[in-house]
């Protein structure tokens, strides 16, 4: 286990041991250029994200107090982070009292070793898994495979990714880059028991997944999950899902292992009244997701006989030490910010080189992993700073603010190392400049950034596409309104 660095420092020298960058992953601009040229990918993403955007807006508009819910969620999360040590100890005490066992993992390697040891102790050589960001982050499946343990992903989209020998590209819908026709092809070629004559009708595809996984659920000895929330006051865990595969994984096996980031904690049971109002509407645009499971330790005669909670740090305490960056730890992984992001829509999730794509990925990955790797260093530039992500975020994470802050850190690191943010920024900006709509967004962002980045009327670091300029010289503060915006306002509507 590598000793973690000092909190508060983005380790510029050594790569973070916790979340491996996808092997052979090009940095964001290179990956983005390839992805943008893939018209099928763009069509799939545009279709899916536009559909969900409109629906989310409707689901949110239904609650007159959305903003109050959002502010309460922010306040609860900030409070919890400020008292994180207290609440973690309380959680540990209550889980233990209810018959569970709590383990602590400083990084991915420790977490994976704990899980592998528990699976072996249960006498099993396979596990069923419900989609969990934490175990994607730690690369658990690969680590278990190296130990001779097979992990079966049971979430439909994860199954599509696993069968397609692919990588997840979205937090909630990891196979969002695949359309129904592609999914049918993957099932037909990779799923031995796929029904003959399988069509690309989504219910037919869902039914094929149901029968494919049924036997595995019924005979599983060990289940592995994450959790959306962990309640300190009671020791309860909460898993929010749609398909019922989560219920299967947390109910049927004799042993359940849940790997949970330390920031997933909530102080008390009643906080669910806030977070379960915000999460489903933000992620799948539903009033409520089909299934939510809660459990507290062991219940004799109902569900697993052994319950293990693995609490995972893996860079979170480094993020916690950053006064601006720590707000990313409020994230409840709803993926609303991905679905509204003009950059994500064009490049897809793979270009971000981590399990966390889109706006949240651009601020969380460099904090969890540090910025030694060019992939991570390029991520804070993977945005036009248009602000749509901040607007939709149910826990009010100011993603543009965090991006600008992290960009400054990358530039500072460059002074020490010989890293070139302007190369990164210019490659991305070439693409933005080819798109009138993105350019308009970037210019709006530049205007909006006056207050954020200007010092004494000069700007030291502009967002792309303008950052290449300010990297070597200061720029005057931009006018409050770009020419493009002024033209649109004063003349544009005459034609």
């Amino acid at each position: 286990m590598t000793a973690p660095g000092q909190p508060g420092q983005l380790a510029a020298g050594e790569p973070h041991p916790g979340m491996p960058t996808y092997l052979g992953m090009p940095s964001f601009p290179d990956a983005a250029r390839i992805a943008v040229a893939d018209s099928q990918l763009r069509a799939n993403l545009t279709h899916a994200t536009h559909t969900i955007r409109a629906k989310r807006a409707g689901a949110v508009a239904e609650l007159a107090d959305w903003e109050q819910l959002r502010q309460a969620a922010k306040a609860i999360k900030d409070h919890t982070l400020a008292h994180l040590d207290t609440y973690l100890l309380r959680l540990e005490e209550n889980v233990t009292r209810a018959g569970g066992q709590v383990h602590w993992a400083q990084d991915a390697g420790e977490a994976n070793a704990i899980v592998a040891g528990l699976v072996r102790a249960a006498g099993a050589d396979s596990v069923v898994k419900v989609k969990s960001m934490a175990t994607q982050e730690t690369g658990l499946n690969e680590a278990l495979a190296a130990d001779g343990i097979s992990a079966l992903e049971t979430d439909l989209a994860e199954l599509i990714v696993q069968l397609g020998h692919d990588r997840p590209s979205h937090i909630l819908v990891p196979a969002i880059h695949r359309n129904r026709a592609e999914i049918r092809e993957i099932f037909r070629t990779e799923m031995p028991d796929a029904p003959a004559g399988l069509t690309d009708d989504p219910p037919a595809l869902a039914a094929a997944a149901r029968s494919h996984l049924r036997q595995a659920f019924l005979s599983a000895q060990v289940g592995v999950s994450g959790a959306n929330f962990a309640i300190a006051e009671t020791g309860s865990l909460v898993v929010v899902e749609s398909e019922g595969n989560g219920r299967m994984c947390v109910t049927l096996p004799r042993t359940l292992i849940s790997v949970v980031g330390v920031e997933k904690i909530l102080p008390s049971w009643r906080d669910l009244e806030v977070f379960l109002a915000l999460l489903p509407r933000s992620s799948t645009a539903e009033r409520m997701n089909p299934y939510t499971s809660t459990w507290t330790g062991i219940t004799p005669g109902d569900g697993p006989e052994n319950f293990h909670l693995v609490l995972l740090d893996n860079g979170r305490t480094s993020a916690l030490a950053d006064p601006t960056g720590r707000q990313a730890l409020r994230c409840i992984r709803c993926s609303a910010c991905l679905n509204v992001c003009p950059v994500y829509e064009r490049v897809g999730g793979h270009a971000y080189g981590s399990p966390y794509p889109g706006p949240i990925g651009a601020i969380i990955s460099p904090q969890l992993r540090g910025i030694a790797d060019p992939v991570d260093a390029s991520l804070p530039f993977a945005s036009t700073l248009c602000g749509a992500c901040y607007e939709v975020c149910p826990v009010a994470i100011n993603i543009p603010e965090a991006l600008v802050h992290l960009r400054a850190k990358v530039v500072d690191a460059k002074r020490e190392k010989n890293f070139s943010p302007e190369r990164v920024a210019f490659t991305l900006s070439g693409r933005v400049l080819r798109s009138p709509r993105l350019l308009a967004a970037a210019q709006r962002a530049a205007s909006a950034s006056r207050r954020v980045v200007a010092r004494k009327g000069r700007i030291r670091l502009l967002p792309p596409p303008l950052s290449g300029w300010t990297e070597t010289r200061d720029a005057p503060v931009p006018p409050p309104e770009s020419f493009r915006a002024w033209w649109a306002r004063t003349r544009g509507n005459r034609s």
Partner: protein, 224 residues
């Protein structure tokens, strides 16, 4: 190893919070109690709205089959629904402990019931025609049914593996909104929140019904 990892994570948290200028007040509980919560306790006032009707409408939005029946008509309703299911699927219906006997008073011949005693193995649950339960609480605002797996509900696997779930919701169990509903629950129990039949949004972000949980959810709301 585990103890030292624990101590190091806790100490990193304390150092990080100090570094970020978060000098937290010593009493976390007092600070928690003082957090401002300006959101509504309910989005529909139970005094002026038909909360039961709202629940029925919103549960049906998820493509559950929802019917409102008078309390006295419940046995006949259950008999009718089970007869319909039995015509489409073979196997028995499992009945959890604590389900009121009078609910099953009117069952037609040919409908077989099973008990979860001793506990049925998963493979047998998979052969059942369905399961009949009550519930703990329901939420009108979101059309959600909450099981706490107490009397009349059975352990969690019972309402998970069979492909058909008939659930009886009594009007008095319907809470207007999340805050009221969570206040009625005992966090120490396991819970399943059910909002419609099993579904997925994993193909092109469109909700389609029918993956691993019961694909058929039938709700009878019993009103006094």
């Amino acid at each position: 190893m585990s103890t030292s990892a624990r101590d190091r994570i806790l100490s990193r948290i304390r150092t990080a919070n100090r570094a970020a200028g978060q000098v937290a007040p010593a009493d976390a509980d007092a600070a928690y109690a003082a957090l401002s919560r300006e959101y509504l306790r309910a989005h529909h006032d139970a005094g002026t709205n038909d909360i039961t009707g709202l629940f029925a409408e919103r549960a049906a939005d998820y493509r559950a089959v929802v019917e409102r029946v008078p309390e006295s008509g419940l046995p006949a309703g259950i008999a009718r629904v089970l007869a319909g299911r039995a015509a489409a699927a073979s196997g028995s219906f499992v009945i959890p402990d604590g389900l009121p006997g009078e609910w099953l008073a009117g069952l037609p011949a040919g409908i077989t019931l099973a008990r979860d005693e001793p506990p049925l193995p998963p493979a047998e649950l998979d052969q059942l025609a369905g399961v009949v339960t009550g519930c703990a609480v329901a939420i009108a605002e979101t059309g959600t049914i909450i099981l706490d797996h107490g009397p009349a509900q059975g352990r969690r696997a019972l309402t998970l593996v069979p492909d058909f779930h008939l659930v009886v919701v009594q009007a008095s169990q319907v809470a207007a909104d999340l805050a009221d509903a969570f206040g009625r629950l005992d966090p120490g129990r396991p819970h399943t929140l059910i909002s419609g039949p099993s579904a997925t949004s994993d193909i092109e972000l469109i909700r389609v019904e029918g993956v691993h949980g019961p694909r058929n959810l039938h709700v009878l709301i019993a009103e006094a």
